[in-house]
């Protein structure tokens, strides 16, 4: 089967094909890009359907997984596999890319390169979620960085160069450490497993589940390796204090790019923790869990307080996003079914909600050319449907019961509470500032008395402040639909995640027992 490869490479090839288009045919370029993303989405849906027919675990050879030798002496293979956890993230990525490409029709400059980069970014992310060889994982990890850099640096706002450089430097320092970690991991695994076993970077072999070469790493080595891996992931998530790149990057990037970065790319970091750090270094993870938990809790509350006072729409959303990601991290490091299941579910929810918020903020910025919260006020009467959409997304973000944000956070915090009451209480505390800043965001824009002067009033006078258009509506409609669907009936997605979750728990249980 080449299906996973097809899923990964299709956007890449499509993006390359796009480069051969004549530059002037802007409309055709846009629609082709959207069509490519849609076809990719269909491929992913087929993947989901195939998956559902076969119960598949990433820890054993499976129906869909692929493996070809590449540089066997260095332990490098081209191997891909999928399980429930990566599947939902793949689906999220495909959905968000489609939505963000559709939201990018307003980009005027170098539309061809833009669309190609978007598709390349999608390939990179899909690769990260599907790779089951560490070297391949690393390659895809770096592939993500390139389009993200150009998207940010070329189509961003005024301070785009600064933001892009900062982003690249933070990210690459982290990922180089991970590369060192990957090479060392292979070495130490070989050392532990015995001379007869080759050097391998194959995830299934490193996890000691598939092969006869079992090697258990000493806890010191585990700790150092974990720190090296965590450096890359902590920057990507981001955990504080590695988040300094994020407010700049998120506020400077064009809204659809921000939506994709915040919605999908931040999940690669958490996925790294879940898929690599926790099963590969179980002892070290247990030892260092207090560190990660502390960073997560401090990040949750710290960023919530910061979000309360931001004056820039996108920065506010950026800090809110970090704060909510902290809850996911907490859930992940609770090491029980509720916490981890909630965390995976919340990865999807966070992606959907954050993307919706950034896109809607982008629609607004397009109309008014300002991101300053104090320029807005009382717009609900003028743009009622946009207000409704934004209200739904904001409520989902603050965790209103019945919407998607609640399901994931509730479940994660439930798990956190079971493993550590103090962390559970501290993590739950965030609902208060979260409600406060989201209301400040929503009320600041939509409610209250309209401003008498300023940029927004000027655009009202010009008549450029229109309500949501049909095109825009169709862009956010799928996201809003999922906000309701996952809130009311999360059983389907949880069901996809669940078998893989149980698998992960078993691997963890075995490792913890050793």
């Amino acid at each position: 089967m080449f299906f996973l490869s097809a899923v990964i490479t299709f956007p890449l090839l499509g993006g390359l094909a796009l480069l051969f288009f004549p530059r002037e045919r802007v409309t055709a370029l846009r629609w082709t890009a959207l069509t490519l993303a849609l076809v990719e989405l269909v491929l992913v849906i087929v993947l989901i359907l195939t998956y559902l027919q076969h119960t598949i675990s990433i820890f054993s050879s499976s129906y869909l997984s692929e493996s070809w030798s590449w540089l066997p002496s260095l332990g490098i293979n081209y191997s891909l596999s999928v399980d429930g956890i990566s599947l939902v993230l793949v689906a999220l990525t495909a959905l968000l890319t489609t939505v963000c490409i559709a939201a990018s029709f307003r980009i005027e400059r170098k539309i061809k390169n833009y669309m190609a980069f978007m598709l390349l970014l999608e390939s990179g992310m899909l690769g990260v979620f599907l790779a089951s060889n560490l070297f391949l994982f690393y390659i895809f990890w770096e592939v993500m960085l390139i389009p993200a850099y150009f998207l940010l640096g070329t189509w961003g706002g005024e301070r785009r160069i600064y933001a892009a450089l900062k982003f690249v430097i933070y990210t690459s320092v982290g990922s180089f450490l991970m590369l060192v970690g990957i090479i060392a991991l292979g070495y130490y695994h070989q050392l532990a497993a015995g001379v007869n076993c080759g050097y391998t970077l194959e995830l299934s072999q490193l996890l000691n589940t598939a092969s006869s070469c079992r090697g258990v790493l000493g806890s010191d080595i585990q700790t150092w390796l974990l720190l090296a891996f965590a450096a890359a992931f902590a920057v990507k998530v981001p955990l504080i204090p590695f988040h300094s790149w994020l407010p700049d990057a998120y506020s400077e990037a064009p809204a659809p790019v921000t939506a994709l970065l915040a919605g999908a790319m931040s999940k690669t970091g958490i996925y790294g923790f879940l898929r690599l750090c926790i099963p590969l270094f179980p002892q070290a993870v247990q030892t260092l869990a207090p560190l990660f938990n502390t960073l997560a809790v401090v990040g949750i509350l710290y960023c919530a307080v910061l979000a309360l006072t931001q004056t820039d729409l996108k920065r506010l959303l950026g800090y809110s996003s970090i704060s909510h990601l902290g809850v996911i991290m907490l859930g992940l490091f609770s090491f029980n079914a509720q916490g981890m299941g909630g965390a995976v579910l919340q990865m999807v929810n966070h992606g959907i909600t954050t993307a919706a918020l950034f896109l809607l903020a982008g629609f607004l910025e397009y109309r008014t050319n300002t991101r300053r919260l104090s320029d807005y006020g009382g717009l609900a009467a003028r743009i009622p449907w946009l207000a409704v959409a934004m209200g739904i997304a904001a409520l989902s973000s603050l965790g209103l019961p019945g919407l998607n944000g609640f399901t994931g956070e509730f479940l994660s915090l439930l798990g956190v509470f079971r493993s550590n009451v103090t962390l559970g209480v501290l993590g739950t505390l965030v609902v208060v500032p979260a409600a406060w800043y989201m209301l400040r965001f929503f009320i600041g824009i939509m409610w209250g008395s309209p401003r008498q002067d300023g940029v927004v009033t000027a655009s009202i006078r010009k008549g450029s402040l229109r309500d949501i258009s049909w095109k825009e509506f169709w862009v956010v409609a799928p996201l809003l639909l999922f906000i309701f669907y996952i809130g009311i009936q999360p059983a389907f997605i949880a069901g996809v995640i669940n078998p893989s979750l149980i698998n992960t728990m078993q691997v963890l249980g075995n490792a913890f027992a050793r």
């Binding site: 006072t309 931001q310 079914a337 439930l414 208060v432 999360p490």
Partner: protein, 666 residues
């Protein structure tokens, strides 16, 4: 039965969806049909269910049915189910019944508002959320309903979203309610961590260790205190009066704010495990009752008087629950729903008739113009003052009796104090209610003759008050001549009359043991026995003392009000010099204190962190690192001279060094 109860939930939701999506384009009649229809059918179904339930034996009245599977994680799973038992049935009837009356009333009150469709959509949404809260069979969906009623309340308080005061009030209400949600979430997490279950059946049968039970109950009570506006989380309710008056009647008097009372009754087996928590419930209830009543004594905005009165009455309900008499709390909940909804709707009728005026100083003498409103308002006022034989008398009496019973049974002096607080509050209640009544209806109309001095005083006050309420109220006020005041239309007066009748007879669902009918207590025998079985019994003699004293306090309060305000309300400017009056008038400066202690520091912290930690330290740090590289490269790059021969020489030199090195090494 299950299907029917499900429809009670689904119909208002459907109403909300239809109105929300298409209401904007609908004619008025269609909006009313859908809005009324959804709520009316829900009430009808609830009533049918109720009759069905009555025909079954007491043991079979609890019906718990799973509706769908919500989520699973690992081996753990959560379902959504509906629990229909006498307790939830009582709540359902109150919610949909009073809700229906208020839906009808709103058609008149909101007739001229362009957002009529939005209003009815929100009302239907509220009914849906409240029904969900009531019929949920797990703590999880209780939390969902709990959060959704908070949202409905937020949307309706902020209904006039361009008024600054309304927006501020809505935000405050939502955030304080979220604090309550936080308490509920923590309680749920703790329950789950300890028992491994979330459905009522398993959790309520579970025995928690002493400390845990207390912690759970206290956390639950945080949620109740926020939702039911008890100390110290009551601040949002008076501000919530910014919403349209029917909303104040429905959500902030009759139904949503009683959710806390319902929750304590629902989780009574847990509270029975913790005497500390029950003592806290009773204590907070009593203190809140007295505290809020004292503030209500001096308010000038008629809706605010009623708001503080609501807080005070909710305190009574918690007092009852704190002394094991949950059924008594529910009883007061029901009667309070009748007379407080009546009072609010009456106040709404007055405000409507006066073109938006809410200030008592500009009313007076309306008895002659608003006869139906006046009579029904009087009935409501008598009922809340606990005058026999109106509804409030019976339920208040039941509560005071059980507090006294607890006091005698336990011998604890604090319960006697609580009982005295109850009696005093009853007197205060009667006083402020009749101050309000006389202020509105007695004397002569002051709307036209407000003197310049009074006007100035009032403007100053509006500034002082810091809440913008008066100011906002006045923006929309049209001064109406006395002769132009008309009784409200039928669509508004009919609900008033129905509620007045209920306020008269509603008390008879309670116990008549005092009057020689020990067998007659329909509500108590309908409710599960756990809700009253733990309450202490009171000897008939003591019961008479309690009843007599509370009645006396009520009559005394009315008498004093008559003495001061019988000839109409007079605002006394010399009161401004009285520090005690100022303290109470400014609601003990709680809002100001809260702002100074909590809100301002948090915001300052956020700004400080953004500027210094984020800006100078983190951003500055990364810039500092980049400066280091920048600086060192500035030094090193001098080597790159750009002359090719320099490089070639460098290469040559390197080669020579290497060659020499290997030559020396041999």
């Amino acid at each position: 039965m299950t299907n029917l109860s499900l429809w009670v939930l689904v119909l208002p939701l459907l109403g909300f969806i239809i109105l929300g999506l298409m209401g904007r384009f609908m004619p008025r009649t269609a909006i009313l049909t859908i809005g009324w229809g959804a709520c009316g059918l829900a009430f009808l179904l609830a009533a049918v269910n109720f009759i069905n339930m009555l025909s079954t034996s007491a043991a079979q009245r609890s019906n718990d049915s799973v509706i769908y599977h919500w989520i699973s994680a690992g081996t753990f799973s959560l379902d959504f189910g509906a629990l229909l038992d006498p307790l939830s049935m009582t709540m359902l009837l109150v919610v949909t019944g009073v809700g229906l009356l208020i839906h009808i009333y709103s058609a008149g009150y909101m007739a001229d508002d362009p957002g009529l469709w939005r209003f009815f959509a929100y009302l239907n949404f509220f009914i849906f959320a409240m029904v969900l809260l009531v019929i949920a069979d797990t703590f999880l969906f209780l939390l969902v309903g709990w959060g959704l009623v908070g949202l409905a309340s937020y949307l309706l308080i902020g209904f006039w979203y361009q008024r600054r005061s309304a927006v501020a009030a809505a935000q405050k209400a939502f955030v304080i309610n979220i604090i309550g949600d936080l308490g509920l979430m923590l309680a749920i997490f703790l329950i789950f961590a300890q028992s491994g279950h979330l459905d009522y059946g398993s959790v309520l049968a579970h025995t928690f260790s002493g400390g845990t039970a207390t912690a759970i109950c206290l956390l639950l009570f945080v949620a109740c205190a926020a939702k039911s506006a008890q100390l110290p989380l009551y601040m949002w309710l008076p501000d919530a009066m910014e919403g349209p008056t029917p909303v104040s009647a429905l959500i902030h008097a009759a139904t949503m704010v009683t959710a806390g009372v319902y929750l304590v009754a629902r989780t009574s087996p847990l509270f029975e495990q913790s005497s500390v928590a029950l003592a806290v419930v009773a204590g907070i209830g009593g203190v809140t009752a007295l505290y809020a009543a004292s503030i209500a004594l001096v308010q000038l905005d008629i809706k605010r008087v009623l708001a503080y009165s609501t807080i005070s009455q909710l305190g009574y309900m918690f007092m009852a629950e704190g002394v094991h008499n949950y059924a008594g709390g529910i009883f007061h909940l029901v009667t309070h729903a009748f007379f407080k909804a009546l009072l609010f709707l009456g106040a709404g009728a007055i405000i409507h008739a006066l073109g938006g005026e809410q200030d008592m100083r500009k009313m007076g003498g309306l008895w002659g113009r608003l006869r139906i409103t006046g009579v029904t308002f009087l009935i409501g006022a008598l009922a809340i003052s606990g005058i026999i034989p109106l509804a409030g008398f019976w339920s208040k009496d039941e509560i005071l009796g059980s507090v006294l019973a607890q006091a005698t049974a336990s011998g604890n002096v604090w319960y006697y104090v609580l009982w005295i607080i109850g009696i005093v509050t009853a007197g205060l209640t009667a006083f402020y209610m009749f101050r309000l009544f006389f202020g509105i209806f007695a004397g002569s109309y002051r709307g036209e003759t407000a003197t310049a001095a009074e006007h100035n005083a009032e403007v100053n006050e509006a500034k002082d008050e810091n809440t913008l309420v008066t100011a906002a109220g006045h923006q929309h006020t049209v001064h109406i001549r006395y002769s132009a005041i008309h009784e409200v239309p039928r669509v508004m007066s009919t609900p008033l009359i129905i509620l007045a009748v209920l306020s008269v007879v509603g008390g008879f669902i309670g116990s008549l043991a005092l009057f020689g009918l020990p067998g007659w207590s329909p509500l108590t025998s309908f409710l599960p026995s756990g809700l009253h079985a733990h309450a202490a019994d009171l000897p008939l003699g003591l019961a008479w003392i309690s009843t007599g004293l509370s009645l006396l306090a009520g009559v005394l309060g009315i008498g004093l009000a008559w003495r001061f305000y019988g000839k109409g309300f007079g605002y006394k400017t010399q009161m401004q010099g009285n520090p005690l009056y100022q303290l109470v008038f400014h609601k003990y400066y709680v809002d100001e204190a809260l702002n100074a202690v909590l809100v301002t520091p948090i915001l300052a912290l956020g700004r400080g962190l953004t500027r210094y930690l984020e800006g100078d330290v983190l951003d500055g740090g990364s810039r500092g690192i980049s400066m280091v590289f920048h600086g060192s490269s500035a030094v090193i790059r001098r080597v790159q001279t750009g002359y090719m021969r320099n490089y070639a020489l460098g290469i040559l030199f390197g080669v020579v060094v290497i060659v020499v090195y290997y030559a020396m090494r041999g």
